[in-house]
Amino acid sequence: MNIIDRRLNPQGKSLANRQRFLRRARAQIVKAVREASGSRSIQDIGNGEKISIPMDGLRESSFHRAAKGGIRDHVVPGNKDFIEGDHIKKPEDGDGQGGGNQGSADGEGQDDFAFVLSKEEFLDIFLDDLELPDLVKKKMKQAESTTPMRAGYSSTGSPANLNVVRTMRNSLSRRIALRRPKPAELEELEAEIRALEESGLDPERLSVLRLEFDRLSAKSKRVPYIDPLDVRYSRFEHIPKPITQAVMFCLMDVSGSMTEHMKDLAKRFFMLLYLFLSRRYRHVDVVFIRHTHEAKEVDEDTFFYSTETGGTVVSTALIEMKKVIDDRYPIGDWNIYCAQVSDGDNTSSDNAKTAGLLEDVILPACQYFAYIEVGAEYKDWLGRDSDLWRTYKPVVRPGGHLAMRRVRVRSQIFPVFRDLFSKERHDSTTWAAGGEGP
């Protein structure tokens, strides 16, 4: 009898099957994930998700008998008071004892298949085919920070980089090729010579052996154990290090005209952006700046939940953002993203200043700037663009990295987000101001 501990065997043997399964059901899963993301609360969007998908294409069919029809005999246990010849009313339809998803009579019912996606799988599918615009910072193309990467071997280098394994491998093959006598062979020969010398027998063989010994020891001196030819060094190349940190600025108008509903929309958008950025960058900082007629950097709770009264001067927020960038996030080291959410109000006198700041200071510093205008749920647009919309619109130009969208209801958040970051749109380089979300 053998007892074998298999617990340490490679885990996740089923992973390959799971990947095949996910690939197979990809279309249905993507649809389910999109739907799920609309309904679930934003806080746990990053957790795994239980989704259910229709069985189409996932059926494993086989020939089997229909659940009904024909003559059937059953033997069942637990008779209480039946006697031979009794009649029993048939159970109502649907009380099939077969149960499970095989039960539906013709297998045509829309049996959903429910299972849990891991967090990674969920986000993969959730953020699939979205791409960050300008992932490589333009200014940083000539990046100065580098990291050494292995790049094969070289015959020169510093002693610290000596690659012993390679060197010895070369040495061994050279010794074998040149038939360098092994130390053991020499010792053996020497011992035999000594034995013959002591015994004094067979002087003829002794002289042969001595000659042989001289020849071999001379050869072993000629063919060195390690030749400079054998030596190899590990080679490193210096690869420019991509910037793996990003900072995300959340700008929001918190003046009285912003309702809870609008803030909720804003929060959802910010969360999505955060998730997306944290998938792409190793480290993501978030800066919350809220403004009325004056702007302040605050923590998350204050940002979303505390109320403030006052007028609306957008340029203050931009100035505050500029200040934070100058203080803490040097442009050279950080990828900077900004999302601004507002209901579109601004003091008329401030419009020109805001446009100027945006175009001359903020946009050059940012990788990407998204402006989301939120509206009341049940109110139609009056057909008139808001102050801020009119202010920003002239700044939008093809190929630029300013985008603006309007959102009114929750379900639009995700489509608008996808619309902003989808690959195709990015490729076509038209960053035109869109109308209302689809």
């Binding site: 074998i4 043997k13 089923s14 069919s61 229909a66 029809g69 029993i88 013709d106």
Partner: protein
């Protein structure tokens, strides 16, 4: 009670304890019960690995397919929610016989599992006639290794999708990929020549010119003779659909045939398990119950461990009544265990009734010998037919219901009384008969020289037709493998009346 000390105390297990318990179990299994087993290999695995083995039909080495991923997702969801516990063990019919035990089990459970799997199932695998005839315990692991490698290689060479299409189709036909009888050997050339010569000689000897003057049979007979010849050459009718497609489908590439063959081999390997599920589980349950009781008697098991084992044992052999919400058919563990315990009772303390019903072995005083013989020579159907006793029918209060689709009421046709015993027993046995359980589907004709349409018949038993939507999906798989149209006709067995004709299903993809 004996005064020897228990082999272990407490719930934790380690390899030492497992080895000690194994030796004690082996002594009882071999010494007292006379079990003969393959050498054992016990492997400890984690819950995740158990789930994994689950999802790939219990085989540790399995090729990759999405359906296993689907089952895994399903099982995992249920398991995580706590809706379903995991099996405590999985055992592979191989030599050495591999039993997987879970690391989460307590030591008492490991004891139970060792007795159950490493001796109960193992003995059954090694000795039952069906397994001996149909499976090659020594070769299966190597074959699975080959299959896994081969599928992976095909995926690399021909792409995931192409392999998936073939495997999907083959899986749909898996239960119809079994040879139910040993096939007759096809004669080789020398044989064929010898037989032709014999036939000629016979004809010459029997030659009578008078036959020439007898009117020729009608032309239709000629046609049917051709048909018969064609069928003979293709080996039709053929109920092993996978075998037929593998050998005869005109458009398949060699690697596709090999894939079908792999699925067919695996299906064949599991064929005995389907027919002996109740006996196999009964044998394992009876064995572990006997062994742990003996161990407890000998003082090798503490009372606490024994209680834990009994708790688990009773929930395994629990049989809810038909009107219980938990009822989902007859529990094979319960029926198997009850029947085998009953056989033991008949051997040791028979009543007059038992002596009348089972004159062969009632009161022979050798329960294990009697059981060993039953385990070796029977399958579920014949076992019930042979050994189900009136006492047990009364104890389980079995009764028979006759259900005709058109009637609004079902009829109770037999209960546990003198008149009913035989009828109940016959019906119960029939419900374990694989020939009755599985649909009888046969390929009956194909005109290779004509339109190559494949004609498939379903021989309908008692008017139970196929589930239509599913059948059409399977037909599509057959059509895809075959490469031409397929027609399914449902025919009443016995009368040959056509009950239902499906529309021809054309292939949807090129394999």
């Amino acid at each position: 009670m004996n005064d020897s000390t228990p082999l272990f105390t407490g719930a934790d297990w380690d390899f030492d304890k497992v080895a000690r318990v194994y030796d004690a179990v082996e002594a009882i299994a071999k010494g007292e019960m006379g079990l003969v087993t393959y050498p054992n290999q016990i492997e400890v695995i984690t819950a995740e690995q158990m789930l994994d083995a689950y999802s790939s039909i219990g085989m540790p080495l399995m090729y990759k397919h999405w359906s296993f991923g689907k089952h895994f997702a399903q099982d995992e969801t249920l398991y995580r929610k706590g809706m379903r516990g995991l099996a405590y063990e999985i055992v592979i019919n191989s030599s050495p016989c591999i039993s997987y035990i879970m690391e989460e089990n307590s030591m008492a459970m490991q004891t139970l599992v060792i007795a159950h799997a490493a001796f109960g199932h193992n003995h059954f695998f090694k000795n039952n006639g069906l397994f001996r005839q149909w499976t090659d315990a020594k070769g299966i692991l190597d074959y699975m290794e080959f299959a896994k490698g081969y599928v992976a290689q095909c995926e690399e060479r021909h792409g995931h999708q192409a392999v998936e299409r073939v495997l999907d189709a083959a899986h749909a036909l898996m239960s119809h990929g079994v040879h139910k009888y040993p096939r007759k050997r096809t004669p080789d050339l020398a044989d064929e020549e010898r037989r032709a010569a014999e036939r000629n000689a016979y004809q010459e000897k029997m030659f009578n010119d008078l036959w020439r003057t007898v009117p020729k049979p009608a032309a239709t007979r000629q046609g049917s003779q051709e048909l018969a010849e064609r069928k003979r050459r293709l080996g039709l009718p053929e109920e092993n659909l996978l075998y037929f497609l593998e050998k005869m489908a005109p458009k398949l590439a060699p690697w596709q045939r090999e894939l079908i063959r792999i699925v067919r081999k695996i299906s064949q390997y599991f064929y005995p398990q389907k027919q002996t599920k109740m006996m196999n589980e009964g044998c394992a349950t009876f064995t572990h119950y006997t062994i742990v009781n003996r161990m407890h008697e000998l003082g090798l098991l503490s009372d606490g461990a024994m209680l834990e084992i009994l708790h688990s044992h009773t929930s395994v052999v629990f049989q809810p009544d038909f009107d219980d919400r938990r009822y989902s058919g007859i529990n094979p563990y319960a029926l198997g265990f009850n029947m085998m315990s009953d056989i033991r009772r008949i051997c040791e303390a028979p009543t007059q009734e038992d002596r009348e019903w089972f004159p062969d072995f009632a009161g022979n005083g050798d329960p294990y010998g009697t059981l060993r013989q039953a385990w070796a020579d029977y399958r579920d159907e014949s076992f019930v037919l042979q050994y189900l006793s009136p006492a047990l029918i009364r104890k389980m209060r079995l009764f028979k219901i006759h259900d005709v689709a058109e009637n609004s009421e079902m009829e109770v046709t037999a209960i546990h009384n003198e008149r009913g015993y035989r009828e109940v027993r016959r019906s119960l046995a029939r419900s374990y008969d694989i020939a009755h359980l599985e649909t009888d589907i046969q390929i009956v004709d194909v005109d290779l020289a004509g339109d190559r349409r494949l004609i498939v018949h379903h021989l309908v038993d008692n008017g139970m037709l196929l589930a239509e939507a599913e059948a059409i999906r399977v037909l599509r798989h057959i059509a895809n493998l075959w490469g031409y149209e397929v027609r399914l006709i449902e025919i009443e067995s016995g009368t040959d009346a056509v009950l239902k004709t499906y529309e021809d299903v054309a292939p949807t993809t090129v394999m």
